[in-house]
Subunit: 267 residues, 4 copies
Amino acid sequence: MKSNFFVPLTPRGLSNISPPPPWHYAGDFLVIDFWAKPEAVASLLPAELQADAKAEGHAQAYFIDWQFTGEHDEFLNPARYQYREFFVLVDALFNGKPVAYCPYIFVDNDAAMARGWAQGFPKRLGLVFQTRTFAASGPASPKLAPGGRFGASASADGQRIARGIVTLEKAVTDPAALGSRPTINMRHFPRLAAGQWERPAVHELVESIMDNFKVADAWMGKGELTLPECENEELSDLAPVRCGNGYRMSVSYDVTDLKTLVDHSVK
Amino acid sequence: MKSNFFVPLTPRGLSNISPPPPWHYAGDFLVIDFWAKPEAVASLLPAELQADAKAEGHAQAYFIDWQFTGEHDEFLNPARYQYREFFVLVDALFNGKPVAYCPYIFVDNDAAMARGWAQGFPKRLGLVFQTRTFAASGPASPKLAPGGRFGASASADGQRIARGIVTLEKAVTDPAALGSRPTINMRHFPRLAAGQWERPAVHELVESIMDNFKVADAWMGKGELTLPECENEELSDLAPVRCGNGYRMSVSYDVTDLKTLVDHSVK
Amino acid sequence: MKSNFFVPLTPRGLSNISPPPPWHYAGDFLVIDFWAKPEAVASLLPAELQADAKAEGHAQAYFIDWQFTGEHDEFLNPARYQYREFFVLVDALFNGKPVAYCPYIFVDNDAAMARGWAQGFPKRLGLVFQTRTFAASGPASPKLAPGGRFGASASADGQRIARGIVTLEKAVTDPAALGSRPTINMRHFPRLAAGQWERPAVHELVESIMDNFKVADAWMGKGELTLPECENEELSDLAPVRCGNGYRMSVSYDVTDLKTLVDHSVK
Amino acid sequence: MKSNFFVPLTPRGLSNISPPPPWHYAGDFLVIDFWAKPEAVASLLPAELQADAKAEGHAQAYFIDWQFTGEHDEFLNPARYQYREFFVLVDALFNGKPVAYCPYIFVDNDAAMARGWAQGFPKRLGLVFQTRTFAASGPASPKLAPGGRFGASASADGQRIARGIVTLEKAVTDPAALGSRPTINMRHFPRLAAGQWERPAVHELVESIMDNFKVADAWMGKGELTLPECENEELSDLAPVRCGNGYRMSVSYDVTDLKTLVDHSVK
């Protein structure tokens, strides 16, 4: 029997928006390095983080085709649990240590949105797509080989918020090239009672914990990214000044924990 | 300038998933009275509520076409804020007082999902549709008149979870006929840290507060509802033993508060 | 029993993508007058039509919330048959007579797409939204009154292709103000056989026929429209040089016929 | 420059719903053999085809994750051109020769719907999902190995129309095991003019032509399929009496031609 980690709270837990941890993930990643205006990055950071001057506005855009499962073969129900995601990580410092902070993230699935909120990822709904590669070769399928090209885009509420292209150049032999800053989120849940709106029930700086992290078929090359100007979308303020490497890889990991760095939750 | 009531937390608050309260709503309602097996209703109730034996399993299904606005003309951006909703309320008792508890609710919009979670509504994503009436008459538009028929359906993850029909008989002259039990939710937000999964950060029984409640063009008649058997959807356990009245009306109200009845949040 | 007007062709016709005519429609319209560059309009016209020099690039943008029904109460199944639509009509001449030609149209429903193709409307899928008014008044619902504002937007493949606002000033007392050019389409269906790609199976200039046309609650005022620049969307070439009136009304009509003006279908 | 094979007909052809042929495809297939009631299969066949008595109601269900491209790198724009598909093929005879006829097919993309109509595939919109495998191993990703399991589902208008599971047993060494009946469709496009509804503009029995057909990573095992009872969906009439093998493979091919078998188009 499943327990009710999220809502709705039901007798058998089957209707719960997502099964409880452990959460298992596998996915295909398109990642693009880019540099935004440093002041745009700095303006997004919570008070507990400091701007990373050496990073010069460095950030990364991720487009991911995800598959999720809990402990009950949820991967066999892709209509409910498979999803696509777009997010940005910006370089920052926490107590002088290099970290990556997630200011924006969009998914096309409610189970992923709920898990994200529990982790502190500030998820909204969006539509996200990326080019795939298939075992059967042909003009419709780019190869994992020099010159292979992969496109991606993300939209929210009918506005295109991001567009990317990665052109492969070489296989990644040293996974360290993929970066290793810890991912930092601000976990947050409001209070609605009158007079309590400024006293969120949950407001804590957290560090993501990913176990059994595996990377396969990692390639790198040229990355191109645009973050078009949109009505009422501040993501546009991170529009790339320049772009850097692009990456395409498969990744899997598990989530069963979360580390609280600073807890401002109002008791 | 908007504040950041929800996530993401941004400089201007424009990217926030929903503006802060006050929240203003207007919508068209299709409501169907039905009776489920009393034990199915009882099995859904949190420990703080008691089964309402006199209700004999009475519940109501709501299909709503909603329009939302905050304080910055959000109603002019319907792609982001207009939405549709399906939910069930079941009769129960709190300290001996008749209340209505919401075990299941589905919306097609993330801003509505976020506000719902803040209110304790256990929202998941779904697709919801209802027949509309238009000022220009003709075969495609039912009239608010005896014999007028309105259909509705809801689905989640590609499974149809509810189907309803309301056939109008007469205008509602006494709004009291529409019922007046307070709406009770279990506001809930988990902890992900290892060892803390059973200690939710937020777990409180709350009562919804709706101000400036207005009803217009209320009609009643015959209600028909089915809750089809679905894979891993416990809503099906509430399948109607019999149906009662159906209602069709327009409603508006504001939300700026929430009343905590019992707070089990773990400090 | 339904017949199989479209595909799929099935024993009972219930699975057909749309029921056969007669087709009945009711909807809420937001309409915005605008002027594009005359050469952009001219470049869209089929050879059988001529540019309307006096129109100076005049066009109209329509955002519509539609309800459809055939002869078997299809309006009671809104998940399958209710839909939203955005299209543009540009002024042109046919044999010297003023007409309106439809170069672009987007709907969120496949039954509507099929009927549109049969009528010659060049429908693609899109997401379309417009502000609604509700009988229950309040901040979330604009009134049909001076100062009432209605927003709308349309997107295709995650790109916003249109955004409009109509601010009401006065009721329309003379329906002739709403315009009355016949709607002209190019009905077109290709051949796929090798060597036949340039010989479409259907290619005929047609005039839409709408019976029992009714308008209710028509208001007019100021219209504002943008057609943002999008990747690979030529609609952007019609970007307004200036905008004119905006309209908001309810409309109903029936479709049971189509008039062929010029038939180029290859036998 | 692109030509306008479909609608809309525009100066540069970029807005056309799909680029012209050649059409290139690559995809992941889940295929399940099943047997329906022979009379249910027979009732679906057009007059030009005969029931295949030896087949005893044999049919196949296909769930496919597709990537499409034309000649202009359309695979780099997955938001517009990548899609998912579900269809059924039933065994039949044409002039005594074994063929497979497509009575039902659903896709989540309008470009695919348009191309399908041109080929005679009777496409409607639906949502289709299948379990994927990823290069990075872990609990969320089934392996192409004995015991690997893949789930799939399809829905239309919010009703689940199909659910399947394939459990792998062994690699397919002889591609002939995958079957080789030609695919037969009824290409059909109506006339709307009054009095002409029974005289479709296009009505021809056609055979699909696929060039450069490649299969990779083909596995077979046990197939399980249900076609649940749905409101107004005749697909349910093909509900499996029993199921047979399941297959999982990658496939690519090109389409540039179509063979007309019998042409009933009304001139």
